[in-house]
């Protein structure tokens, strides 16, 4: 116990000595948590559009009006020809062209049928799909208004209609930040914890100080605990600061029991740091440890469920996501913070993450022996 205490004192002194590091460990997550969640917004507003109106009729004007007053579209350009509009798209000044052909109004009234054309810059498939469907909805809306104008609608509905009502639970205002903040917080805690531990043992190897530790009577588990506990504490501090910011800046307070998050975080950090230490025992130089961490972190983060839901992924990627501790923490964090899930709801995840914790740390201890 005393040995461990001395080891911990040494580790803390080493960490605290490096002022720049300490500042960054706490400042970087704070700044990023304040800034980054605001960036994530799939809600499309102000889609820049260009109009090519060959008809110049009352109806074409009405249709254009409908577009500009919808709140989704911003008329950035009116072109005489389709070709001109295309140049505007090439220059990125518009993402959508709506072309209204000559005779639009006349054809609609006389021939019962008319046409419009929507052209979208589809490099970003998802965004363009959305903006086209908004545009289409506006045109269809306009269409039914025209119909009402010309057809006497019967009072009773002659056709069976299935009414769909939607309720959005746990985030009724559909605020994207409620979704992003807990996820980004998990990533930040993960980055800090993992990067610091991954490099730690290697540094001692490179500096040669590990030789001294190896010849001393320190036991392996004491050594690993001495490395783990300081970063475990730092991880929890970063997490707590993060909760403070979530509350102050975003007004997010966990719907569930906050202690439950700490319980899960406690086990999660042990797992994550164990994995970091494992990388550390495996690498030969700090540089190597960094590159390996970079690789692992990228995969963890991308497959963590923050940028795309895991259910959407193909089988092999879902298997990787199941092997990714980050994805469990993100899931549990959202469950407790947004849905107010309780202990029994997260028990399954807690068991899985405990297995990770035991597995990684056992491997780290075993592998440390080999490198001595």
């Amino acid at each position: 116990m005393r040995t461990l205490f001395f080891l911990l004192r040494k580790e803390f002194l080493q960490i605290l000595r490096n002022k720049l590091m300490i500042r960054m460990i706490f400042a970087l997550p704070v700044v990023q948590l304040i800034i980054l969640p605001n960036a994530a917004n799939y809600e499309m507003k102000n889609i820049n559009m260009s109009i090519v109106d060959h008809d110049h009729s009352e109806y074409s004007r009405q249709l254009i009006n409908k577009f500009t007053s919808s709140g989704y579209f911003q008329l950035t350009n009116v072109s005489e020809t389709y070709k001109d509009a295309l140049v505007v798209v090439e220059e990125d000044k518009a993402d959508l062209i709506v072309e209204i052909p000559q005779g639009f109004e006349r054809d609609l009234i006389r021939d019962n049928k008319s046409k419009t054309m929507i052209v979208a810059n589809a490099i970003n498939g998802q965004a363009s799909g959305l903006s086209v469907s908004y545009a289409n909805a506006i045109i269809q809306d306009f269409n039914s208004e025209v119909r009402v104008e010309w057809i006497q609608t019967p009072r009773l509905n002659p056709q069976p209609i299935i009414e769909i009502t939607t309720s959005n639970w746990f985030n009724p205002k559909m605020n994207y930040k409620y979704f992003m903040v807990p996820g980004v917080l998990v990533l930040l805690v993960t980055l800090v914890g993992f990067l610091l531990t991954a490099i730690n043992i290697v540094k001692e190897k490179e500096d040669g100080t590990i030789e001294q530790l190896n010849v001393s009577p320190i036991k392996k588990y004491q050594f690993i605990l001495g490395k783990l506990i300081p970063f475990w504490i730092i991880g929890n501090i970063v997490l707590s600061i993060g909760f403070g910011i979530s509350y102050i800046v975003y007004g997010i307070f966990p719907a569930g029991n906050p202690f439950l998050i700490y319980l899960f975080a406690a086990v999660y950090l042990i797992a994550l740091l164990g994995f970091g230490l494992l990388v550390s025992t495996f690498a030969e130089t700090q540089q190597q440890a960094m590159f390996i961490s970079y690789f692992i972190m990228t995969v963890f983060i991308l497959l963590g469920g923050l940028f795309a839901p895991i259910e959407n992924m193909p089988g092999w990627a879902r298997i990787l996501a199941y092997l990714n501790p980050v994805s469990y923490f993100i899931e549990v964090m959202r469950m407790i913070v947004l849905k107010g899930s309780g202990f029994t709801d997260i028990l399954r995840y807690l068991c899985i993450i405990s297995l990770f914790a035991i597995g990684f740390n056992t491997l780290a201890i075993l592998n440390y022996k080999k490198t001595v």
Binding site: Y42, T116, I164, Q287, T298, N312
Partner: protein, 368 residues
């Protein structure tokens, strides 16, 4: 010149000796591109849902079968009462619940109106909206089949054309994004760490008192990583062409030119980072922790910049990857020329000059 060459050779040996790092540096772009191309899809499939059917008649059965047979949904469980809904949501197993009111078919046939309620887990608003749309589309399709008489009068038909990417493939936006991110992170990280390493071990002092100019010392450290980055670009382009089928529409030379400029920009950012820290640990924290998330989230490839609040749109301007991604999209996918991208190119060149200028200034200060 000869000195430089000898030095570059020495650095190369250092890098090549470390097989594990090499594997990461050259393998990462491949892995990342494959993850982005295949795993991070915007398509929804296999989403777990629950159904509460209070009516249990032919019509509801019909709709349920349609939902089940779509690729979007897997019915995780069938509920028998309202209070099970919230419980099931809280276990995190379902993202959506569909509730059919009782007497569904009866109402539909007799009053011509029946109700379906969709309840979503809106903790992910984006997914909630998408899933609602899918269910609505399936229900609407069913309804349309009930109403066989179509062909309404006064119809505006819309013709839709998707430019540059008619199949709406996700890779068209992810390939430029991955290029921007990988080149920046790897180049900045590698350079900063390898320069700082010399400082930490103390060999930098030796090098600087030697008759060689500091610029040659730095250049010899940077050139090998420049070459590694070039190899990465070629790998990425080969994969994007042969695996994802994205052709290079514009000039290959121009694409190469802007890429070289961008890599130099990223390397000079790495040099700048190395002048402000003295330990590899700190260099890593800055280059990984400080760059990774901002580059992913603010460069415009994970989330559209136009949707961001104004202040973030302004901040995104200082991320070099943003400008590079715009240029890659323009040249590679739209196939337009230098004349249309000169502004972006100038910004990148300006940033490079700024990073280098600042580095030189800080470097001198350190030597005094």
């Amino acid at each position: 010149m000869k000195q430089l060459l000898t030095f570059v050779k020495k650095e190369f040996h250092h890098i090549l000796r470390d097989k594990r790092s090499m594997l990461v540096l050259l393998g990462l772009p491949i892995v990342q591109l494959l993850i982005f191309g295949f795993a991070i899809t915007t398509e929804t499939r296999n989403c777990n849902i629950a159904i509460l059917d209070n009516s249990k008649d032919e019509a509801t059965q019909n709709i349920i079968t349609r939902i089940e047979s779509s690729t979007y949904f897997d019915i995780e469980r069938t509920l028998s009462s309202n209070d099970q809904i919230e419980k099931t949501f809280k276990t995190g197993r379902i993202k959506l619940a569909i509730v059919f009111q009782s007497n569904f078919q009866n109402d539909l046939l007799h009053t011509n109106k029946a109700q379906i309620q969709i309840i979503t887990d809106a903790s992910d608003p984006n997914q909630a909206t998408t899933l609602t749309n899918y269910v609505s589309a399936i229900v609407r399709e069913y309804q349309q089949e009930l109403n066989q008489n179509k062909d309404l009068p006064y119809t505006i038909n819309t013709e839709i054309r998707m430019l540059y990417n008619p199949q709406l493939k996700g890779e068209y936006s992810s390939v430029p994004g991955v290029m921007g991110m990988i080149l920046l992170l790897i180049s900045a990280m590698m350079t900063s760490i390898s320069i700082v390493k010399e400082k930490e071990i103390g060999t930098m002092e030796v090098l600087l008192v030697s008759p060689m100019k500091p610029s040659i010392v730095i250049a010899s450290k940077v050139i090998p990583y420049f070459i590694v980055s070039l190899i990465n670009v070629i790998t990425i382009l080969l994969i994007s062409n042969f695996v994802f089928g994205i052709p290079i529409q514009g000039s290959f030379l121009l694409l190469g030119f802007i890429t070289v400029i961008y890599i130099i920009c990223a390397l000079s950012l790495g040099i700048l980072i190395s002048t402000v820290t003295s330990s590899q640990q700190a260099a890593m924290i800055i280059s990984l922790m400080g760059l990774m998330l901002p580059v992913v989230m603010l460069s415009g490839y994970a989330f559209p910049i136009a949707n961001m609040p104004l202040i973030l749109q302004i901040i995104s301007n200082v991320i070099p990857a943003k400008w590079y991604i715009i240029m890659v999209k323009d040249v590679m996918i739209k196939g337009i020329g230098l004349f249309e991208i000169w502004q972006e190119l100038l910004i990148i060149i300006g940033m490079t000059t700024f990073f280098l200028g600042l580095s030189i200034k800080r470097f001198k200060v350190r030597l005094q």
